[in-house]
Structure formats: structure tokens, C-alpha cells
Assembly symmetry: C2
Homo-oligomer: 347 residues x 2
DNA sequence: GTGAAAGCGCTAACAT
DNA sequence: ATGTTAGCGCTTTCAC
């Protein structure tokens, strides 16, 4: 009787068990039927799925995870989601994972190693099937290595902590720097500044090393005043270009650590009445979507952020299936994208 | 003997049970000890925590969730994480939730209602303690209402689907529009364009209604050519300003639906050799971080994205504790931020 | 202050 | 093609 009237079938509290009882079958059958297993008869499948829908049944992944030891979550840790570079990576990851039935568990740590370690410790407790992480500036690999040795696949993205034997998906910093420098050299530039970066993270370190090597190859002198240290923000570019223009012998071009810095430089140039591409050449790095939207467009070395995100997903998913794989370094070749912000050197 | 040698204590596979056995106590005690319950003796607590650390024990939240029916996850659904506006909201949410021991489960749907429904259905299965959602453009409230009626607290952010009785945290569109228009009016502008927006989402609808009302109040004519429809992207602004400048009688100022559009307008102005603030006035909306970084800085009506994120978190957490609360509309007052992109009307 | 026991909702052998 | 059974790892009464 109670059965006919039915409690309001509070959806969200419906379980396999209840469906099984109403239908007079076992929970095992319901479980299989809901997943459209070929083991169950078509008619049963239909009945089960219909009732599940009517009852407002919602699959409980916590329960399934406990049983299967898989969560279908991938944890993603980045420093800052507002930065469009990380935004594009995160968007690509989310998109790719959604396609394979996974969901993103997000953590951020603002380039703070201590916060990174706390965040990662929490993420680990959710038992994600894998993690895609961009290490905080200055962090050691300890936390990452711990996670990996606890059996969770970890892939580093964009930045690399060397020597901890973990997968990496990144762009080739040396090639990127050379692409930018060679482009400017062909345009006749000889005094070229480097804006942004520092030596505490692989990316900055690699690029600065390449800069020095390149100068030596071209027989050009190294002027420390042309090396502007700073974070990868618009401010760094804006302030950096002011200092450079105030030099007794200013550069005629700048290679920036990333696009945000380059935008800051372009903005700073305008402030001083100069026009990028005509009076001063600027090259960015990453090719975030905004780079194409500027007037003039930003000449930049693309590090293919979306592609990095996609490759990192593929890698982490592969490792999910085959945890014993040796660590891979997936280094994407950067490409030069010439737009209007670079032009022939003035004489 | 095997016990002394010890298996390599594969961390990640250590359970409460194992700690309990090694220590000769019950799992109940271990559970309490790990959470530093006052019910267990200090000495026991110490022993348990030490061994847990040594063994590399990792708390299994799936198991705990199954038991407690709480996951400590909050699902966040937005259209696009690359958009800095949503980026800032997401960052604020992540930051706020981390402070209260919650983690963000992320879903995106690119303003596609069908994709939104699929994404939300998946997120629901993880049984998040609550959801913070910005509805996709053109979506009905059905999916959201279903979730809420399944007992998961839902708060809408930024955009509102009316009449479904769910919490909202947003900014006052009408006030924002008036703030922008009044500012321009005081500067002497009389032909003012509105760039971006459409009538399929609350935000655009509300602002356009206000625009018409405001014109009427000021006794100004409504010129449909001054209403540029479009998405909230830089392109919309860039293309929109070209069309406006080509008009027989162009406007002297533009109010943009958001900052991205305003950036596009400023870029387009420059392309035509005009300078924002001097030759043409432009007002944005939202006040994303980038707005202050432009030269000239963008005059904009701040909708306080971070504050919206924070308030949404507070609200969803409150509802977690007290699900019976009546729906609240938390409408933040926008504020005008005057920078260099607006100036006196030319005559 | 600690232990025993039950159970959250699901899946996977194994049996029939 | 379906049912039985056991158990994933944790928390929570309720005893002692």
C-alpha cells in the first residue's frame, strides 16, 4: 500500500537497491543494466533504465570509487587560473578530459611552494586517477615524487623539475628563444633586450642560457643592462620597457618571457609615444589568444598551450592504464608567429 | 618475521585497518585519533599519527564520503575559464573554498545549453556538497532546478535564470548601466552607443532595458544603429567600433557590456588613429585586472568578480548546513571606476 | 578511553 | 541471463 502511494521518491536518495527491489531483480543486474552491459537482456535493461529515470536515480561515484579504486577524476594543479596562459591550458585539459569521461579537480597555489604542498596533499586524498601539475616556482620535486610513488600518475606541464623521473609535457625553451632572436637578427636588430624570467625555474633558466650562447655565436656583446628580471606579468613589461628606453644606449628590440610581458611592453611603448613594430620590435612567447587581437598583432613564439594541455591528458590517461611506463619528456617544438609588432631595425 | 622486514609499505594502499592492527587498537580509535578527537588519549593520538606518517597513510575521501554523505567538494560550472572575468571568479572561489577545507570540481560548457546539461549531470554524480553555476546563455533553468530538488545546494553566479527559486549572487545590471551612462552624460556626451549583449540572458536584457529607459528620461532619441549586438569578446568590440565610426553621424562614446569588448573598442580606435579618452570615450564593465593595466586605463563599472565568487561560496556553504533556507538574491552594488578612457565630449 | 559491529552504495567473482 | 555473496575504507552508535 505504502508501495503504491510511494514516498515522494526523494530523488538523490535513490539507490540501486531500491530499483532492484521494485523490479524484483538483484542489484547486480541493475548495476549491469544501467551500464548497458551485454550480459543483461534487452528487456531488463529497458525496464531498469526506465525506472531509474522515473525515480530520479543518480549514480553515486563515491560508492563506485570505493569499490573500483578509480574515481574518474584528474587533479589539475596550476599557479593561477587568471593568467590566460594557464587558463588556456586548463580549458584544453577540461575539454579533453570531458571527452573521455573524466572530471577536473582543481587546485591553485600562486607560485607558493608551501601552499602547493598543502594543496597537493588534499588533492591526493580524493584519489584522483592522475594529476597534471605545473610546479610552483622554487618548489622542490619532493611533493610530486611522493605522489607518484604513492601510485598516482603525475605529469608535469610547462615547467619541469628535473631529476625526479616524472613525465613532462612542455615546449622547447632553447628553440623558442633562438626563434625569437634569429627573427630579430634577420630584421637587423643587434641590441636586443630580454624581459622577464629568473633563474629559479627551468623555463627562465633555459632561455637565459640560450640567450648568452646565441650572443656568443653571433659575436655580440652581453650587456647586463639588457637583462630585465621579473615575473611573467604585464607590469614587468610595462616597467621594464621604461627602464630600457631610459638607457644611454637603448635596445631596438626585446624578447619577452611570455606574452603578458610583451603586452606590458607594447603598452609602455605607446605611453612613450612609440609604436611597436615601427619604432621598436617586441616578441612574446606562448601565443595566447589575445596576442592575435592586438593592433598591431603581437609577433610571438607559440608554445602551443592547448596542445600541451591535450598531450598532458593523453599521457596521464595512458599512465593510468600502464603505470609502469618509463618517464617520458614530451617536448613540443615552438613555432614563430610573425605579426606586426616586429619590423626592421631603425638606423 | 614478515612483520619485521615489512613489505615496502606501499604508500597509497595503507588503510586505517593496518594502522589499527600494527598498534593493537581498533579502527575506531585510529579514526578518532587521526582527527585529533578529544575522545582519545593523548598518548594514543601521538602513536597513531606517528605511525600513519611513517607508513605514508593517505586518507581516503571516497570511503569517508560514502559513510558521511559529504564529499567536501563544491562543483563549479562556468562557460569559459579563459575569459578573465570567469577566471577571476573561479580563482576567488577556489581560494575561498580552500580556506574552508573544500575542493573545486570544475566543469565548463562554452555557453552551450546541451553541453551544460551533460556536464551538470556528471558533476552531480560526484555528489558535491554544493554547486556554484553560471548558467549557459539560453539555457532554461530545468537542469539547475533538478539538481536543487535532488538536495544539492545550487547558487547561480553573475547570471540569473529567473523564477526557479534558486540563490543568486550577481551585480545590479541596471545600476551599472546608469553609472556608465550618467558618467558620460556629465562629460557632455549625447550620442552614446551600447556595444555587446543580447536579449537571451538576464545581464544583456537588463542593461538594454535600462539604456532605453535612461534615454527616455534624458529626452534623448533612441538610434538603433547605436545598439551593437554581439558576444562578450574583444572581436565584438573591435568590429563594433569600426561600424560605429563609419556611421554618418558616429557616436562620441560607447558603453560596453564588459571589459573585453571595451578593450576591443580601444584597440579598434587606435587602428583608426583615434585615442580613447581624447577622441572617443569608452566605458567597460566588470573591472577585470587588465582594465587598470591599459594605457590609458579603462574607465569601467566594477561588478566585483572576486567578491561575487566569495559571496557565492559563503552562500553555498551556509546552505550546506541549512538546506531549508529560502532563496536569496544577493545583488552587489556596482561601482564606477574612472580612469583615462573617458573624457569630455568633443564639439 | 577503547572496542565491536554495522553499514554507506556500489561492483565483481562465482554460482546457477 | 540473473542471483548470491563479499567487501572496498571509512564513521558511528553503543557497549564496556
Amino acid at each position: 500500500m505504502n508501495d503504491m502511494m510511494g514516498e515522494p521518491a526523494r530523488p538523490g536518495r535513490v539507490t540501486l537497491q531500491q530499483i532492484a527491489e521494485r523490479l524484483g531483480v538483484s542489484t547486480a543486474t541493475v548495476s549491469l543494466a544501467l551500464r548497458a552491459s551485454p550480459l543483461v537482456a534487452e528487456a531488463t535493461r529497458q525496464k531498469v533504465q526506465d525506472l531509474a529515470r522515473d525515480l530520479g536515480y543518480v549514480y553515486n561515484r563515491s560508492a563506485a570509487s570505493l569499490r573500483t579504486a578509480r574515481t574518474n577524476m584528474i587533479a589539475v594543479g596550476v599557479n593561477d587560473v587568471v593568467n590566460p596562459y594557464f587558463g588556456e591550458i586548463l580549458a584544453a585539459i577540461e575539454e579533453t578530459l570531458a571527452g573521455s569521461g573524466h572530471t577536473v579537480l582543481l587546485g591553485t597555489y600562486s607560485d607558493d611552494p608551501a601552499k602547493q604542498d598543502r594543496v597537493l596533499a588534499t588533492l591526493k586524498e580524493y584519489r584522483p586517477d592522475g594529476m597534471i601539475l605545473c610546479p610552483a616556482n622554487g618548489s622542490t620535486g619532493e611533493a610530486l615524487a611522493m605522489i607518484a610513488s604513492a601510485g598516482i600518475p603525475v605529469v608535469q606541464i610547462t615547467r619541469e623539475i628535473e631529476g625526479i623521473g616524472l613525465d613532462v609535457v612542455a615546449s622547447d625553451d632553447g628553440v623558442a628563444t633562438r626563434l625569437a632572436l634569429d627573427h630579430l637578427h634577420e630584421l637587423g636588430h643587434r641590441r636586443i633586450a630580454v624581459v622577464g624570467g629568473n633563474d629559479t625555474m627551468s623555463t627562465g633558466r633555459n632561455r637565459r642560457i640560450t640567450y648568452r650562447a646565441w650572443l656568443a655565436e653571433k659575436g655580440l656583446p652581453l650587456d647586463p643592462a639588457l637583462l630585465v628580471t621579473g615575473l611573467g606579468t604585464r607590469d614587468t613589461g610595462f616597467a621594464g620597457i621604461q627602464a630600457l628606453l631610459d638607457l644611454a644606449e637603448p635596445p631596438t628590440a626585446a624578447v619577452c618571457m611570455n606574452d603578458l610581458i610583451a603586452f606590458g611592453v607594447m603598452m609602455g611603448l605607446r605611453q612613450r609615444g612609440r609604436e611597436a613594430g615601427r619604432d621598436f620590435s617586441v616578441v612574446g612567447a606562448d601565443d595566447v589568444r589575445e596576442a592575435a587581437m592586438w593592433a598591431p598583432g603581437l609577433t610571438t613564439v607559440s608554445t602551443h598551450p592547448s596542445e600541451q594541455g591535450r598531450r598532458a591528458c593523453e599521457r596521464v590517461l595512458v599512465r593510468t592504464v600502464n603505470p609502469a611506463l618509463p618517464a617520458a619528456r614530451i617536448i613540443l617544438p615552438p613555432t614563430l608567429v610573425v605579426r606586426g609588432s616586429t619590423g626592421p631595425a631603425q638606423r
